[in-house]
Each structure stands twice: as structure tokens, then as C-alpha cells.
């Protein structure tokens, strides 16, 4: 199966929202769209604007993968928090945190979403911003499969420390 990021244009919002609504109706479960990783994003909307509009159109919550967002921002030469001002953080239910590594392809630099244990500084900035401003956050997922236990335990401790500013999850064991 070929997984592609959505086309980040206004015309993609309504059909994708309809798909989310149909999936929610068919399963009886909430469906939280997640910003994907990638090296090639097509469209004239910032990915946060796109997912914000999508959440409004589908009247649904959101999953923000902080590592995916960091790689998107770096790919486009943006600051880690670009686009956050218009993003509906009140709809954010779940976030993902993961390590990434910088790769180079013919001089083109991009971040590989490798789920390693080294989390980019930009990812941590996004985590801390979200922790402080997302009032309905319910879950933090640390994606670190295929790493030895002793390598990932400090990562969990660091995530807990970075989430300390969260009004809802701060201090959660």
C-alpha cells in the first residue's frame, strides 16, 4: 500500500472530512487525523492550517505528531512553531513524540522519522508549546519501537519533564 500525505489545498479538506465522518459513523469510534511525515508535501496551505480546517470541517479532534511537524517545518525553512497561532489546540487529543535524524540526498537535507531515541530540539519545542496550550490533551505516545529498553527509559523521563507545563497532564506518572 502506498501512503501519501494529503494534498495540502482547500479542495482536499471537504472530501477528507467526509471520509473521517464516514469512518466515525461506520465504527462508532472517534477518528483523529494525524499530520503525516514525508519529504514531499504538495499544496499551498501550511500543514497546520490544513489540519485545523480539516478538524473544523469534520468536527473532530486531532492527533499532532510533534516529530512529523518538526520535520515539516525544517523542510520548509520554518521556525518550529510557525502556524501554531491559527491551529485549534483545543481540539488536540493526542500527541506523538519520537526521535529523528537528519539525512542528506544530493544536497537536499531532510529529517528521517526513524523513531530513534534522539529527539530533535524542534520537536521538544513543539511538545512544550503544546503541553502549555492544549487544554483537552488526553494522551502522549512515545514512539520508540525497536530500541533497547535501557535506551528508551531516559526518553520517557524526558517526555514527562517536558510535559510538566501541561494543565491536564503535567505530573501524570
Amino acid at each position: 500500500m502506498l501512503l501519501l500525505p494529503p494534498i495540502l489545498i482547500e479542495e482536499q479538506v471537504a472530501p477528507m472530512a467526509a471520509g473521517i465522518a464516514a469512518l466515525r459513523a461506520a465504527t462508532g469510534l472517534e477518528v483523529l487525523p494525524e499530520n503525516p511525515p514525508g519529504t514531499a508535501f504538495v499544496g499551498d496551505l501550511h500543514i497546520l492550517d490544513f489540519f485545523g480546517r480539516l478538524a473544523e470541517a469534520a468536527d473532530t479532534g486531532l492527533l499532532l505528531d510533534c516529530a512529523h511537524l518538526a520535520l515539516y517545518q525544517q523542510l520548509h525553512g520554518h521556525d518550529a512553531l510557525t502556524g501554531m497561532d491559527g491551529f485549534p489546540l483545543d481540539r488536540l487529543v493526542e500527541i506523538h513524540v519520537a526521535g529523528g535524524s537528519v539525512s542528506d540526498h544530493q544536497g537536499f537535507r531532510w529529517v528521517e522519522d526513524d523513531h530513534g531515541t534522539v529527539v530533535l530540539d524542534d520537536t521538544w519545542r513543539i511538545v512544550e508549546h503544546v503541553a502549555a496550550h492544549a487544554p483537552n490533551l488526553k494522551a502522549v505516545v512515545v514512539e520508540c519501537e525497536r530500541n533497547p529498553l535501557e535506551a528508551v527509559l531516559p526518553l520517557f523521563a524526558e517526555v514527562r519533564r517536558r510535559m510538566a507545563g501541561s494543565p491536564v497532564l503535567g505530573g501524570t506518572p
Binding site: 500500500m1 502506498l2 501519501l4 494534498i7 489545498i9 479542495e11 482536499q12 472530501p15 519529504t39 514531499a40 508535501f41 504538495v42 499544496g43 499551498d44 523542510l75 539525512s103 540526498h105 544530493q106 544536497g107 537536499f108 531532510w110
Partner: protein, 253 residues
Amino acid sequence: MSRNVAALRNAMARLLHDPAFVETVHAGPVAGLSEAERALLCAVDRRAWSTDRYRRSRAVQALIEELPVTAAVVGVEGVDAFFSSEAFGRVLSQRGSLALDFARWVEPRAGAVARLERAVAAARRGERAPGPGLVTRPGVEPLLLPEGVLAFYAAQRQALGADPVAALAAGRPRVERPVPGAGEDSLLVERGAEGQVQVGGGSPALVRLLAFTTVPRSRDATLAHARRLGCAPGEDAEVVDGLLGEGLLVVRV
């Protein structure tokens, strides 16, 4: 001016698999893409499309694994060529299956063995068009093939051994597509409870009737088709009810 999401996704799939198409898009107007759509694609750094060096190779491998004898006929390069075709781009926009669409695309070159392996792949997936009515059970694929193709398939599949990808990647010579016999084999390709796919025989009329109902049909339309295939009035309902009893036909509401 509205931009076509399906056309953009189609192009995006091709750009990720076909470096030549990247150059085409950057060079000038492309059939099926408006200039506004092409501008969106050209805004992406062209190197971004090829960061995964093995994406196309993995896709070729997946197709060889699923349609090994077809691949033996057209060669690895014949499989690889699919990813430079417009047909490949349409897989996404039409929400198709890569293996099934590849089989359809390659059949003019590979012959009926592609249709056989397509039926095996379809049985494995067990999908049917939505809608109410009588429908051939998902996982059962009726198939009419020129005489000799099934034997050719069995012989070639055995010759390829346990690892067809390795055999073909090692430079195994292409095999000639089979010369179709004068007769016709009527077959049922069926996925078993454990997921294994078996090929068995059926009467031509039975296979044709089950082919008719691979898309949902009303009972009246199914009975009428059974009569066209030779059932006497009264016998048509007996045949259809028999297929329902055997589970070869199912009722969708």
C-alpha cells in the same frame, strides 16, 4: 480555479516512483494536469521525490511476489515499466489495488497467465463492489482461460522455486508466453479458510453465472442470466438456490 485532488495524487504517486516523470513535470505542460496543479508540484524541490532510493524496487518486488509467473514472462524490466506508466498513477486516484491493476495493465504482454494470477490475487483479497443483491462469495473468482494456460502456470511456478524474486533478479531468462489452445478451461479460484488459494474446475455455465454475479445482481437478473446460459424455466431457481446453499453465492442486503 479549482484544482483536482485526484489528478494531484495521481501525479504525486508517479513522481515518487518515476524520475523521468519528475523531469517531465518540470519541463512543461503535462496532459491531465492544469498549469495551476503543475505549479504546485513544481514548488516541491525535485530532489524530495527520490529520497527513498529503494521505493520503486520494493514495489517491483511486491508485484513479482504476487504475480511471479507473469513476471517470468515479461521480465523484471517489464514489471518495472509499470511504474513509468499512466496506469500506475491511476491506481491511487481510482482507489485500486496495485497488484490487480498491474495484472490488467500487463495482460496484453504477458497473456492469459496474468489473468490467472490476477484471479489468485483477487481471491486473496476477497473484495466485491458494494451494493445489495446476489453476489459471488468474496474469495471465489470465476475464470475462463484458454486451454493450456493453467498447466503452463503450474510448470513455471514450480520452475521458479521457493523464491521467485531471487530467481528473476539472478537473471533467469524470460519465458515465452503460452500459446493458447483451441479450447477453454472454466475454473474457480477459491481462497480457503486458512487463507490458501486453490484452483479448481467448474462447468462453463456455472463459471459464467458466477462471473455475472461478481458484481451484485438482483435475483431476477440472476435467474434470467441462468436461463440465458441454458437453464430451463424452473431449473434456474434450483441452480441459484443450490449455489446459495453451497455458499458460492451470498445475499447482500
